[in-house]
């Protein structure tokens, strides 16, 4: 059942006051709209002029950005509510979804077609080169290497992040120190990929062998402590890819855990109690009650982590720069766009990335339509 938005405000204006009230509304409208426009315009000029010290500039920027959006919604809605009821009913959804649709269109939907066009053009986007950029994307040795590496990221990164996240969320839910455990696992989430790069570079670092050299990297110190030989871990293909994937797991498990944990907490305790009273073990209760209940969240989390793994860029960029056979699609895209300035090839790589996530898109749509019976 759908609720019809009803505007049952009683019509208070008598016929005599009708004209003056319309005029008043129009005047008020002009004042409000021009006032809003002035505030936004003044803020924009203040910020672009960049004269004030940083400590003033930043609060103004935040206030202008956030306040501006809130103000725009309020004013637009006020304007629509002044219109006759039928017109308002048609226009109001536009106010609610319009800004989101416009922004998503500009930043994501339209660029799909713009990149598609650019992918058939040369490095400057001028002349058509047919399929040349795609032939590069699917046959170049470097590109084939990025595909292999991204596959490793996708399979191992995703399965370990989500699996570990679910395990920790479920286990922590049964302990007294839950908050502490979860905070610890989540901690890496609070660190940028770049910061994580610093942390793990320090774990993997290698100083070489020789007289008087102490390894300062954790792994090599453990290896030498056990009598082994230190290794330059990030320079040994193909294993260096796995050492990089470990960083992603370390970062993303916290994300999966927090989302899954809040979903697990949403499982009605009566359902679990019922299962327990029926004599099912904790293991069975987990698979027959918790997992089905949080299935939607699991899908969302897995999808997000899959996309993370496909778009992997920062870690590789900071740790190895894509050298020693650790290159990934997003890094090659970055190199083609901003280092080699080849817009055609870069766009083709972006389109390939899109094609790779197409199954996820289709699956998402199917899942969404299936779950949306009462929409």
């Amino acid at each position: 059942m759908t609720v019809e938005p009803m505007n049952v405000k009683p019509d208070q204006e008598g016929k005599t006051g009708f004209l003056s009230s319309v005029l008043g509304k129009i005047l008020l409208g002009i004042v409000i709209v021009s006032g809003t426009a002035f505030i936004l315009w003044w803020g924009y000029n203040f910020l672009s002029a960049n004269n004030a010290p940083q400590i003033v500039q930043i609060p103004v920027a935040i206030l202008w950005g956030v306040g501006g959006v809130a103000l725009l919604y309020t004013v637009l809605n006020w304007l629509v509510e002044q219109l006759p009821r039928n017109a308002a009913r048609v226009l109001q959804p536009l106010i609610f979804i319009g800004p989101a649709v416009l922004l998503m269109g500009w930043f994501l939907a339209v660029p799909v077609f713009r990149s598609l066009t650019a992918s058939f053009r040369d490095s400057l986007g001028r002349e058509s080169v047919g399929l040349e950029n795609y032939i590069f994307a699917f046959t170049d040795k470097r590109m084939l290497e990025t595909f292999r590496n991204n596959l490793l990221w996708l399979v191992f990164g995703t399965s370990f992040s989500v699996g570990l996240g679910l395990l920790i969320a479920t286990l922590a839910d049964r302990t007294k120190a839950e908050v502490l455990y979860k905070s610890i696992i989540f901690t890496p989430m609070a660190i940028s990929f770049v910061g994580a790069g610093v942390i793990w570079k320090f774990v993997y670092t290698y100083k070489g062998t020789g007289y008087g050299i102490n390894e300062i990297g954790l792994i090599n110190a453990i290896i030498t402590g056990l009598g082994g030989t230190p290794q330059p871990w990030l320079n040994i293909p193909p294993w260096n890819n796995f050492f990089l994937i470990v960083i992603m797991i370390w970062l993303q498990t916290g994300y999966a855990m927090v989302i899954l944990s809040s979903a697990i907490k949403g499982v009605p305790s009566e359902l679990l109690e019922a299962a327990r009273i029926d004599g099912s073990s904790e293991w069975n209760a987990f698979w027959s009650v918790i997992v089905p209940y949080i299935k939607g969240t699991l899908i969302t989390v897995t999808t997000t982590v899959v996309i993370f793994s496909l778009k992997t860029f920062d870690i590789v960029r900071v740790m190895t720069g894509g050298n020693n056979q650790t290159n990934v699609i997003a890094n090659e895209f970055y190199l083609q766009s901003f280092t080699y300035n080849h817009a055609g090839r870069a766009s083709a790589i972006a389109v390939v990335l899109l094609i790779l996530v197409l199954p996820v898109i289709i699956n998402n749509l199917r899942e969404f339509n299936r779950g949306r019976k009462g929409f």
């Binding site: 910020l47 979804i97 500009w106 609070a190 774990v203 927090v258 996309i307």
Partner: protein
Amino acid sequence: MAAKSYKAQKGRSSLLVNLILIVICVIWLVPILGILITSFRPSTDIFQSGWWTVFPHKQYVQSGEIILPADVDVSGPITIDGVTHTFEEWRQGVTMPDGRYLEWFGNRRTRKLTVSAKEWVGFATGFNLKNYEDVLTGKTITYIDGNGQTITRKGNDLSRAFLNSLAVAIPATIIPILIAAFAAFGFAWLNFPGRNIIFSVVVALLVVPLQIALIPILQDYVKLGLNGTFLGIWLAHTGFGLPLATYLLFNYISTLPRELLESAYIDGASNFTIFVRMILPLSVPALASFAIFQFLWVWNDYLVALVFLGGGENQVVTYAVASLVGEKGQDWHLMTAAAFVSMVLPLAVFLGLQKYFVRGMLAGSVKG
């Protein structure tokens, strides 16, 4: 009865559960502990020994040396204090039966061996904030590098980058959430033509990699003069974050109890009033948890900041730390301190807002 046996079972298994979690947590924490400790160590120590040596441990301390007399033949196996080894073995180092550790110094002709013994070394001292001072200021700094050379250069001015990150992350968190909440309410509660199709597009956009947009949007930004501005990066983060924000908030808002909203409509409230007075307050748990993730993603983002904001005056923390790693790849004292500066705030935000993850919030507000 049944509940009792469950409790008993819980008691037995909780030890194992806690043990597993503790092991995982230790693995998770050790890398961070490493750079936390390192960030407070003097730069000369960092290059000479691992961070774990700050804890009490046994290590070889040189106690003297042995000079072999000139008449000892060093071309074949060499006997010292009754122990015979080849030159190569002596050079690798030999533990003597009495516990001393002998190691040949240099080549055969030096005839010199260093003698060391294992001794306890206590907690390291000399922790200081110099690394933090060095990365936070824009002033000239000096330090001693791994080769013992004194280096002088400009500091990294991370405090400015920190404020820039705030200026980027706060609006880039609130704006998309606000816009997405409006849209989610529209999709969940308002009737308009094309609703299903538009929302399907949103779902499809969830997974579109932002790489597809970088080149076209950069072209637009250059034309509009938005490149390198805060407004530009807010819009970019909003555009890229909106599909997920809208989708997640829709999932939440569409499950709010319909009776609540119906009674509000009957009372004559407008859509806007209902949204501001009821939907937003009721959605606080969802808004807060999404806000945490969006804030973290924006704060931790490197790619979007790299493309649309770049270096210079408006550079953000991730950019500053990344250029530290790139430019001076082995300056662990600066990198570790900088990495810590970059993670202080997001961590505080998560710990501060964690209460929003407590279950039953919605149920409580409907009942009350």
